[in-house]
């Protein structure tokens, strides 16, 4: 059983799950270094960022317990990331058509 329900209704993430997440993060770190050594051109940036997003997602979901949080925190996280995406997206919209 990966998750145990605490008596107060709080989720406890087992040591085993945390170690599995750690192992996955280590493998992804190795993968991102390997990808950077391949001849991919612009694929480098996209590949590295895709792996970074996957690693970040694991950290947020498990280490930061977000996958067990309620709707409020999830929506707030979504709004914060959307704001960041709008900032970055609009900047590049401007840079690309200058």
């Amino acid at each position: 059983m990966a998750l145990e329900k605490h008596e107060t209704g709080v989720h406890v993430i087992s040591y085993k799950v945390l170690m599995m997440v750690w192992l996955t993060l280590m493998i992804l770190t190795g993968l991102t270094v390997w990808v950077s050594r391949q001849d991919l051109g612009v694929g480098h940036i996209l590949g590295s960022l895709a792996i970074a997003v996957a690693k970040g997602g694991l950290v947020i979901a498990f280490f930061m317990h977000m996958s067990f949080e309620g709707r409020l925190l999830r929506w707030l996280l979504f709004v914060a990331l959307l704001t960041l995406a709008v900032f970055i997206g609009f900047t590049f919209f401007d840079l690309a058509y200058r």
Partner: protein, 200 residues
């Protein structure tokens, strides 16, 4: 009474997350600046990026991910009423954080000795894009390093409270929030590592 405690817990949790969002936007701004300069000076960024030493960044990535897991484990330990284990995990987290900073010290020393620091003769006479890369590099990793330092102070305070029994299975929101802050420091580094050490 129990209801009021639960509200207080939810409020504390909401508060730290709102703070973390402002941190994400702060570092997001620096990443945005990186992206904009990269598109403007692709060749200068590439040549400056090749001066970075991957081994330092790689080692620090492994250290920080490990410390993040240890911090998460300390919360699990407190929730399971294993105070001693929680203390050991917190101590190991702080140890990793110190290793990170020592590693950073050697990395910066090596770069400064090679003549890469803001307004150094080598950068001042070189192309604009390279100077911008290194300014942004020192600003971003310096600000991140400051967060690591604050994390060490915070986690030390939490360790004292765990050892005194003020943080326990019935009240651990300070530990949880400090761990969340620490995970954010890890999260930011997960993006700094590819941008400054790998993609160029």
């Amino acid at each position: 009474m129990i209801q009021r405690d639960e509200n207080r817990y939810a409020g504390a949790k909401l508060g730290i997350w709102l703070f973390l969002f402002t941190e994400i936007l702060l570092f997001g701004g620096l990443f945005l600046l990186y992206a904009a300069y990269l598109s403007q000076y692709p060749h200068e960024f590439a040549s400056a990026g090749h001066e970075m030493q991957l081994a330092f960044g790689f080692a620090n990535t492994l250290v920080l991910i490990t410390s993040s897991m240890l911090a998460a484990m300390s919360l699990t330990a407190v929730q399971l009423r294993e105070q001693r284990k929680a203390l050991i995990m917190l101590g190991a987290t702080i140890f990793c954080a110190i290793i990170f900073l020592v590693n950073k010290y050697f990395e910066w020393s090596s770069e400064i000795n090679s003549g890469f620091y803001p307004n150094s003769p080598r950068l001042a006479t070189g192309p604009m894009g390279e100077a911008l890369y290194f300014s942004l590099y020192y600003l971003t990793t310096g600000l991140h390093g400051l967060h690591v330092l604050i994390g060490i102070v915070l986690l030390t305070l939490v360790s004292v409270k765990v050892s005194h029994g003020t943080i326990h299975a019935g009240n651990y929101v300070l530990l949880e929030n400090s761990a969340l802050y620490w995970h954010l420091v890890d999260l930011i580094w997960i993006f700094i590592f590819p941008l400054y050490y790998l993609v160029l």
